[in-house]
Symmetry: C2
Subunit: 238 residues, 2 copies
Amino acid sequence: MGHPIEDRTLLVAEPASDTKTRLLGVAERLFAEQGFDGVSVRQLTAAAGVNLAAVNYHFGSKEGLLAAIFEQRCRPMNEERLRRLSDCAEHAHRPPMLEQIIAAFIAPALASSADRGGGRAAFTRLRATLSVEHNELARRLIARHFDATSQRFVAALGRAVPHLSRAELYWRFHFLLGALYYSMINPSRIAYLSDGICDPADVEAVLTQMVPFIATGFRAPSLDRSSRGRARRGRRGE
Amino acid sequence: MGHPIEDRTLLVAEPASDTKTRLLGVAERLFAEQGFDGVSVRQLTAAAGVNLAAVNYHFGSKEGLLAAIFEQRCRPMNEERLRRLSDCAEHAHRPPMLEQIIAAFIAPALASSADRGGGRAAFTRLRATLSVEHNELARRLIARHFDATSQRFVAALGRAVPHLSRAELYWRFHFLLGALYYSMINPSRIAYLSDGICDPADVEAVLTQMVPFIATGFRAPSLDRSSRGRARRGRRGE
DNA sequence: ACCCGCTTAAAACAATCGTTCGATGCGTTT
DNA sequence: AAACGCATCGAACGATTGTTTTAAGCGGGT
């Protein structure tokens, strides 16, 4: 009962494709499940059905493979996030602005339609897993690829919930990230605790449950009385 | 700029104590920061200023050391959680019941007063870090030591917010865990994004910010129309 | 003084890690 | 047909992992 998914990877081979793309897909999944340090190059190449030296040949190093995964995934995902963010608008028969923004941030991180092999959820889980490990490269990759988008969303959230101070805004965005990541990182815990009622693998359910919870949390009144004035004055640019 | 805390551990020796307790303290902190697999026995013993073989001598194995940390921390922490939970009551000049319950769950996980060396926050961070790694022992330890308490809190939350279905209740408890854990796991991300405004190391601030956010989220209306009736009927025992 | 337990010390253990090397096969170009 | 570039292969590299082994140190009881 150790790592069933890993075994399945060995049995069900990827559809016919070249070594490079096969490695990218398998590595994304295995890294997401077991962490970067938790997967050896030997496990990885065995699961992908390629030679041990293939990783270093095609990507230079194990870290190069990780960077390649980011290069492949980040751009389309951020583009979809920003596109959905720019589509947000107040309309009579649409959800409130705040819910739209939060959904625009979360949904592209879970969407499984785009690519093969687990899709976006695997990549989100990968980022969540990496955020724990002390991998300097991973930290740089995340910062480089996601800082701009995150700041855009914090700014949009600030406009949707103008009563919050800057600190409160960042805190609540941080809690949003935590709820999202933890759902990806540790899906077994809630499935076990809830006796199977909740299934984090069901991305539809995660989205449905998370958006109203987080949005309502954002609407909680500001407690920081000293910064309520600062919030009115200060936040203009960005 | 790699792992400054690790270096500090090397310089500032623990106060005079025997090898066993010194190892426990150093290991808790190092495991919390770099993960179980991320810390070698050699790093660990060097940081504690003891011989390499001390871990295996006193705890049998590296995993035995981890189990010992759990044995030491879990009981007092759960006792404090349950004690604070039983103290929750509706009074005129106290926070609402829901806020009290959430604070009773979170505060003992952050309290730094109880023990030396980082205190509870380090242990919470350790659990969060372990929840990512695929360490079978860690999963068993968490399940064995925290399942009962978690179920008690879910039940209490269900009474405080009776409009939720069982699934929604577990989901929101799951988001609560995520927000709490992520604050411990990845404190640098929000500090960086917020340009230093938010400091997750300030446990007081985490508590102040988190409780109203989560509590308000719990009060979001139920979306699961089919289970709203089930919530009225079903949830009685436990 | 001797022996005994408990703890610490240094050294070595087998196993596994990421990476590199040289040889081989295959397809295209000259 | 010869020569070349590219991908893959098995094998080995040095380094590091957790653990074990063996010897030495120390304190108290007979």
